[in-house]
Symmetry: C2
Subunit: 356 residues, 2 copies
């Protein structure tokens, strides 16, 4: 009986102590963020002009012409760390998303920009041309209003809607789902990849040397920006959908567009690159179109890494389940285990000497 | 001769000392910003559904229906001050703008959110439904691509394009002008005022008690939100374009829409309100349509203040040139003298006991 009581007390002590550590950890995460400065700027873009003469006394006669429209730029929100690391982090979102992908999570926890700001990195968060606060474009278009939330839920490997994937690292409560769907924001114009690459290169000119982060559809313009601008000293790509191959070596189905001349491609061999993929990517064809899509992407990623590395490059493809990290959706950087995903990256940054 | 030398030395000392103070002041502005937490959320909005059945195995068959679209919400970026004041500041932008209006200036100085964050206020920066990162709407539309930068330059009283107003508190260099034009971002859908008011009221439910800041076209939904949500404890309106009158008392040309029942209007008499207008607003009709527009708005503002105050309200209309503060455009909060404009507001906040 006495032993039993002691056991109970031990158990209670253990619970209290664990609880204390959990609280202590929460408190650590709640340490203030100290930033030297923060602000916004636009980078890159173009200007169109209308024929005619502008009459400043009748400024609303827009049809009279003689005016300009500035558009197609990237919009950047930056936060500079006190005693900042040498390399900044530049974040480019994926399809249908904005910089918010990197700032927060569906259930309101801290996103990657906060996590790495706390580690002393300065962050530059981009809305690409024609997205979010970079909405002004020179070739605007019609926005579709077709309901498609369930398409994205499924494509992003949260589950096969309405089913959540088993063990998925994604909050299932209705408030989080509501917040998640509302993170989608449409293209405001017809923006091609070259426009995004030009704007991203201008972002790098303003940010200075840095590590480019891309997510999903941001991957493809990301590789091209790394080729174009030497200020990119490393690329961290979360689930890129397409890759930049040497001309003529593009595999079938690659979503990264036409290849580039070998001398340009070779620039990708000069910087360390890490590419991460989450869970629920099958190795064999299934009956689910979304899963087959990702199977093909991961296959292409491995082919691409092989070619870059065969030319002297330093690409690491990380398929998280192979490291025992399970349940990740397409949104690795905001999934429930995003702190673990960030820690994994921190190790890689350290290994490559990018964390000075 | 000796006296003259001393005078010169005094003058040099004075210059050096002033210079030192200027530098010291710059240094003070450069003190790190310490924030307890920051993040993003959506507030309010609606959901539409398409008829049909969604097939998760073919998620791209959008025309098959059975899906939702979440839209019409506000998107909020917040930063919580360490030892925050009791009242937060909630910022709503004007026409064609996003929250960036409040975050920075055309020439990259600190905007109001930084200035007041440094004073210990927590800030909530809104992109209204169908604008910026709140781009997803349930009634999306066609975006116009007509060049109209010069319309806005003129309407915003920077000058009668291409002429800058004499003594204007606006940077004239081409980089700043480029940045200014690129702050414009279009409506992504057909959003009515009620939708903005509903979303803003949901923002207040999340922010808690606060001071609502509005700019320009944000003014009109701002008054209606203050009527709807008691968490708004004061309104600071920079150049609101329209006002909420009691039903039947709307003056001709008021851009604030139909009046509201007297019992609703009376809610505006329960909180302190301050309204600021800048320079270049004529007292008589001119040959410039943009200036006449603002003349009429200021006249309406004064009529409105009179009615609110006659019912026991506390509205102050401040026309800056009357205080000797000259050269302000429509963008008082980001003009070259925005620190002075902020200081003026700080005095009012203190006077009304809103700075605790």
């Amino acid at each position: 009986m006495k032993n039993k009581t002691i056991k109970y007390i031990s158990l209670i002590t253990l619970i209290l102590v664990s609880n204390f550590f959990v609280k202590a950890q929460n408190k650590v995460t709640q340490k203030p963020i100290t930033i030297a400065s923060q602000g916004n700027f636009s980078a890159g873009g173009s200007v169109i002009k209308s024929e005619g003469v502008f009459d400043p006394l009748k400024p609303w006669n827009v049809s009279q012409g003689g005016q300009t429209r500035h558009g197609d730029h990237a919009d950047v929100f930056y936060q500079i760390s006190v005693k900042s690391k040498k390399l900044s982090m530049i974040f480019l979102h994926g399809y249908g998303q904005s910089r918010r992908s990197w700032q927060t999570t569906a259930d309101g926890r801290e996103g990657f920009s906060n996590i790495f700001l706390r580690k002393g990195y300065s962050v530059y968060l981009v809305d690409q041309p024609g997205r979010g606060e970079a909405g002004q474009t020179t070739k605007p278009g019609q926005i579709s209003g077709t309901p498609d939330d369930q398409t994205w839920f499924t494509q992003f490997r949260i589950g096969l809607y309405p089913k959540f994937n088993e063990g998925v690292q994604f909050p299932k409560d209705s408030t989080s789902m509501d917040q998640f769907f509302r993170m989608m924001t449409p293209n405001t114009g017809n923006i091609d990849e070259a426009t995004i690459v030009n704007a991203m290169s201008s972002v790098m000119d303003k940010s200075g040397n840095g590590i480019l982060f891309t997510h999903s559809a941001g991957g493809s313009p990301g590789w091209k920006t790394a080729i174009k601008n030497e200020k990119i000293k490393a690329v961290v790509a979360y689930e890129p959908g397409g890759f930049t191959f040497p001309e003529g070596e593009e595999p079938e189905g690659n979503r990264g567009g036409k290849g580039v001349p070998m001398n340009e491609f070779m620039k990708l061999t000069k910087i360390p690159i890490v590419v991460y993929y989450g869970d629920y990517i099958p190795t064999e064809e299934t009956n689910a179109a979304s899963l087959n899509f990702w199977k093909n992407v991961l296959t292409t990623a491995r082919q691409w890494a092989k070619i870059v590395n065969s030319h002297g490059g330093d690409v690491t493809i990380v398929h998280l389940p192979e490291l025992g990290i399970k349940g990740n959706t397409h949104f690795l950087m905001s999934d429930l285990n995003n702190v673990e995903v960030a820690e994994l990256l921190s190790k890689w940054l350290k290994e490559k000497g990018l964390d000075k």
